[in-house]
Symmetry: C2
Subunit: 194 residues, 2 copies
């Protein structure tokens, strides 16, 4: 009996993995609006009823599939705000210009404008991507490296906003001199005692 | 004969206007992926063949409809880079937080990832929205207000990127103190003779 329950578990895991892989594939290909339970069932060979047994709704499946896009970066700790920010921004620039989720993220942003469940997911994803930036800024604040009263949220937006902008809006290459320009601005402003 | 040609012209204008109004309505409601010629024909009462007579493709119609979203801001000229940038950023913040095209633009960004015609349109729209920023920066450069070697494109991205980021990614309110923080950073860095 135990053996049979185990093989049943394995079968469930395999079919869930198939569904997630197909969802991921369709997301990367067509963005979120191109993903339907119908299409996932057809391409994965897993019946719709089985899909709905594991995920109560299309949104629930999308959230699960999206959570596999891009891991959260590690938090660097080189001892200075400048060094930590540089490591994080270089890593972000690399991800923005190569990772799979780049072509999917705008479809999530778009869907979030009209779907409150996707909007909550997007907020959570964004928050988790940006946590390392918050940590290095708060750590620098604790070390006394940040003397200005700028909020951490504002500093994060000033650091990463220009990179997001270049990737999705102006469609320009993000190089290391651009990153250095941003860091230079932020370092001067945060160390201002005036 | 002339009178009849004129009324024919008017009828054409009226049906084109109906199609554009319906396209605009569907865009605002569902984003670009929700717009179909089929649906526009059904809701506007204009036959598909007539729509295709005026616009050779769905992309051509979308481009025409999108070009009516948000006019390009006027170029301020208060005599200083700081004043001009402030006027433009306050105007941009207002637009980002109230205008109709806010909920449509992510769908354009998304479609641009997969459709090269939409991508060209998006690049042209973005360029035209940002032209006033380029003009005030170039004018300040000519006045000798900008002593750094930062490119105009980089400065535009550093100015507007954080606003775009707050609107669509972090979903935070853009207030005037945030705008002042950004301008302060840019003014210091551009006036640096070092």
């Amino acid at each position: 009996m135990e053996g049979s329950a185990q093989s049943e578990d394995k079968r469930v895991e395999r079919s869930k993995a198939k569904v997630l892989a197909e969802t991921y594939r369709q997301l990367a290909l067509n963005g979120i609006s191109g993903v339907t339970i119908e299409g996932i069932s057809r391409h994965s060979g897993i019946p719709k009823t089985t899909i709905y047994r594991h995920w109560p709704s299309r949104s629930a499946l999308l959230i699960d599939a999206c959570s596999r896009f891009g891991s959260v970066p590690e938090v660097p700790d080189v001892g200075s705000l400048q060094g930590d920010m540089r490591a994080l921004l270089i890593d972000l620039a690399e991800r923005l210009q190569t990772a799979n989720w780049n072509s999917v993220y705008p479809s999530i942003i778009d869907a979030a404008e009209r779907d409150s469940v996707i909007a909550s997911m997007q907020t959570a994803m964004q928050k988790s991507f940006m946590t390392p930036f918050e940590i290095v800024i708060e750590r620098a604040r604790a070390r006394g490296e940040i003397s200005s009263r700028q909020s951490t949220d504002d500093l994060v937006a000033i650091l990463v906003g220009p990179l997001f902008y270049q990737r999705w809006f102006s469609k320009q290459k993000i190089d290391s001199s651009f990153i250095d320009t941003i860091i230079d601005l932020v370092i001067r402003s945060t160390s201002d005692v005036g």
